[in-house]
Homo-oligomer: 140 residues x 12
């Protein structure tokens, strides 16, 4: 699980858009669903694109897939796209809010066309559905 | 549950894009998840945009929400958008394939920005995730 | 008089946008103005684009002109444009709301450039003004 | 009532586009309809954008609404838009011809999205319909 | 052979654009060429997109190919494209007029890039050339 | 002869772009060529678009044609275009500098497509050539 | 008959796109159909745009119409368009492949909107259909 | 100091956008800062673009720089740009509101790229900051 | 003097657009004006872009400037622009017709921004004005 | 105060664009103005977007507002926009140079529409004006 | 080795852009590097696109690859692209100058996406690097 | 030598696009060519844009030029452009693959127009050619 820039502020940041659950609560819910599905979960949150790329490079051989909330990097980072393609693992893109209902510059994603699947708009439930979708695919 | 144009051919139509499960198999899986979640499901498949609009008008007062695979209407139907807004019920948009990875004219949706949530790219699993997401919201 | 898709819901559908008068009330007001102007009126409301085309084909030789609220078809139907041109009768395009003040995809009309006149933004009064304008032209 | 640039030439100017009625005849017809509706009318025609703005500033507190044929200013004047918004009175935009059937630079209006209503294409009848629509709204 | 919306008016509709032959005369000429080439022909004309889709679904297994004059649907119907792809039969797109010489919105076709061949601009002769081209391909 | 906004500053204003001749010198040279060609010349310079429109309205019946350096109005004034069309006299558009070699917003002219002819880039010589071209046409 | 640049390589050049028939075989088939229709045929193949223009200028008075496969010049040559218009003879544009199914820069043709008719996508059969269509028009 | 069209209504006009201070109060504050900085100030407010141009022409030789709130002319007046360039004096562009946060047609300025500096969004404080910036440059 | 492609047909080619004077008549008139101005003239007409480039390369050191009617090459030839720049001589671009009043693809010129001056729309008079303008510049 | 990427090179880097004052000199001048206004200032300069985001997250609760020179991040960083919005503090955007007078990709800012105010083009004076504007707002 | 239009002027033509080495000097340097690498070189320079196409057709079977400086044809010739693809040999595109740093119409190349490699901006050194790159690939 | 994000994965990452040589092998080949040319080489690979900027700032005074494979930053980083310009050293941009033959968002580079030269498409050979080109320029 990769949480992109500014997600450390969840719960405090624009709650009408991103909901009131903190990152810790979301991570706990994810761990719970992972346990139910018999999956193991590693979690990263960072504001540094470079650290995400390092982590993908390191984790590429150790995990079966990635669950990614790229946050603002969704719309600007070709490097994140390239990094995920480079390690050749399926990944699922998730968003708390519905980016299509927000500013035009949030309508384009550099990840969506190479993602295995995409889930957005359900608030923190998006994470749990994304994890279910990824596991369904991996156990396929 | 609304299945849009050409979905009656599922399983036979371009299986490398839409998968091998028939519409009946998908509907059975949906019924199963609905039962697990304690929800009731009405299902429509039609090639006529007008019939979908009539059905939404009729069902508007009887259901709590809609699960919609608008198929080709995703990209062309302002009428479907207007019809769904008119009855004022939350709906979830689902797709079998990943439209962002296909032709440019499939990248735009007339529904996504007013949908409660959107799920695509997981094959027939998209339907089940969409139904879970819709119920989570309604019971939320 | 042609009422396009979803107008059967008038009065109940998003009243802050479309007003509180029902389709029946609007039709009655239209009949009243028609009587005042010595004109006869045939009225169609349908959610099916195909039925509008059939009706135009049938009525083409019987009427002197058309009053059309194309609703969502305004922005997508080349067929409606072609059908109205095919029978070679003047027509007036009317809208309850002001489409220029709404979403960008409502800013373009496939009918306006071949209409005799256009009236929008006056709520149900738009219909009455459009009828007056059409009759002024036909008696002109 | 505001008549924009070049409308002083009405009746002589490109009659196949703008009709054969002179500005005086149109003003007389407007006065007649105003009388029928119990309304009072002030009329301005000028080729100077600045004079229109001065007049709106002066008349803003004295009138209930504006009827505007902005002519060429429709497509180029943000100042006219700002002036009409500044005095906070409803206004109706009218055109003799159908700008959508003319050159592309006439398809956009800086006023339409903030107008109460819009009427175009009916020749000099457009003025009368616009006045009726404005009064219907004010007497609402 | 599929004739799209408004083609029932052929011979009466804008003859300077679409020619003076009626649909019946065109169908008779098509039957004649089909007989010459030893081919059998089924013919549909309808204003309802849904009926075309139903017919393609039904006829998909019975015919070797389609000859299609999609009329106004050329420019708007993703569903027609999807329907023709779904049954996996070669088809030829024909037009009476030359859409490239008409309004800009007629310059794009949703069918041309997946058609086996395209013929336009020859008036009713376009149908006969299209039929010859389709048969040459099927016997080729 | 109509000189548009800011041309009163000629000779002092950006001489590397507009040359060193003053407006008076250019007018004198124009009078000289007019005399040689047996033509009479009226001259206006103003910074007010409205005054230009008033003048065109007044002069429309008295002159055989207009020579216009619209200056900045070239790119912004639909009213100037409409005024010149309204009086139905041929006109020639001239510029001192080459607008195609300057900022992109100077590449478009609202007058060029309805002008009889256009001359630009020759410095003050552009005026003299434009006058010769206009007279050749009127005497043609 | 005009064959544009690089068509001398037919049969050897990218056969999956352009087919396996050589230019000589296509010309022989054209001669055969011409004989069947009682028409005479002159044929040019050259890689030089200038030679095509010279030839059109020379042949303009001697032929009743042109059959043109402009190849790459389709997308870049305004001069070819001007040359064909200058001699005022109907012409038919043909292509072996379907340019709409290839790179975007092949989607636009400088000839199609002024052609009498267009045929593409049928391989070498396109030539024969084009010739039939042209003769039908000339004898029409 | 140049105040463009409609600014005479400040304090009364859309106060949520433009603030509650009147033009007189802003001018008084400007005089105060000018005094503090040892600068002299001439002030113009007009709704007429032509008057602004006349004034710039007249004042060009008498002042060291201009402070300009071009209001609606920001987005439409090439003549204002040309006039300011013609007299070759540095100028500072100021706005009360933040035009980037308003309608798209307010995002472009014809002055910003040739201004010495730009200040916007601070309400009436924008004027005072702009004056300080201009004086810092002139004394710099 | 360079005459571009298809100009050998002048007088016969679309006379309502290009006028009735033949190329020989235009050349004679040019010689006459050249004699009056004490200038010498070399003339080329060809349909081959390559021959124009060879000629510019050869003549570059022998002439003081070029008068060019690039015809269709105006809109497509970067090579002509490069050739004229390479020999570093001033040139004037002329057109018989007004390209701004014709199809959109004729609105852009690859030469205009690097030309000394441009003249168009005066029919064959354009050539004579262009020659005068070029000589005025060279003797200037 | 946040200084974005490459600003550590100020004074040495392209002095004709960015001026000759070093970052230390600018910071000293800022401290001086802050003292005059009774404000306290924290300063960050870094080439790492992630460090800026961390700092905003940390400082969000401790400061009343931000003064930001986002440098190159202005045009590319959605994350910086999101970070500043997340902590819900007013901020002012400043630039040394005038980005509107530079390359087109510098004309768009991801911050300007959500900034309290914007100041650019005054060289290092921009910082001081921005600080005054921010304090005026906070004390406002 | 193919040298496109206007390259015969090298050394004399705009030396600040294209350098001071003549075509003969560049060819000699190329022969030298070819000898070092054990490769044989044929060289063509012409201003005629048609001659380049003829030459490619002729040389297609005799050479292992092409080194091409297409000059102005880079931006306009689909025929050159088609010709190089038709003979199915790898080719390398080279430019003396950096087209990305010049006018926007030089930013697009019709060859780059189908070239084996591209080298530009190194002056005459670009040729030598391109030849090394081509040989490395062929011997690869 | 600067290697941008994700290049640490070379040899393992999408080898059909990026080739099978590892970064170590490429660096060794670079050292070899540098030795041949009598040049010294410093090498950086990092996934952090900020580290690249720090390094450029530090190395700016110590090196004669930069060889840069910006990888994904090519298309998104204005900061990298600014950093390279700030230290005022010539740099060469290289790519293993041909970005013009890939997704549209890879067609634009923020570096190419300010690079001394660009080399792409030759696989790891691109680096060696780029180094030769840079040294030729520095010793030139």
């Amino acid at each position: 699980m990769i949480h992109g820039p500014n997600l450390g502020l969840l719960g405090r940041r624009e709650p009408e858009t991103y909901g009131r659950r903190s990152l810790e609560e979301i991570n706990a819910a994810l761990e719970e669903v992972a346990a139910e599905l018999g999956a193991e979960l590693e979690i990263l949150q960072t504001n540094h694109e470079g650290e995400i790329l390092d982590w993908i490079e390191t984790m590429g051989n150790r995990v079966d897939g990635f669950l990614v909330n790229p946050a603002a990097l969704t719309h600007t980072s070709v490097a994140l796209r390239d990094g995920l393609l480079a390690v050749d693992r399926p990944f699922v893109e998730v968003h708390l809010s519905n980016p299509k209902a927000r500013e035009p510059f949030r309508h384009h994603s550099y990840l969506a066309d190479v993602a295995h699947g995409v889930v957005f708009g359900f608030g923190s439930e998006s994470y749990l559905l994304g994890l279910r979708g990824l596991c369904a695919h991996l156990h396929g």
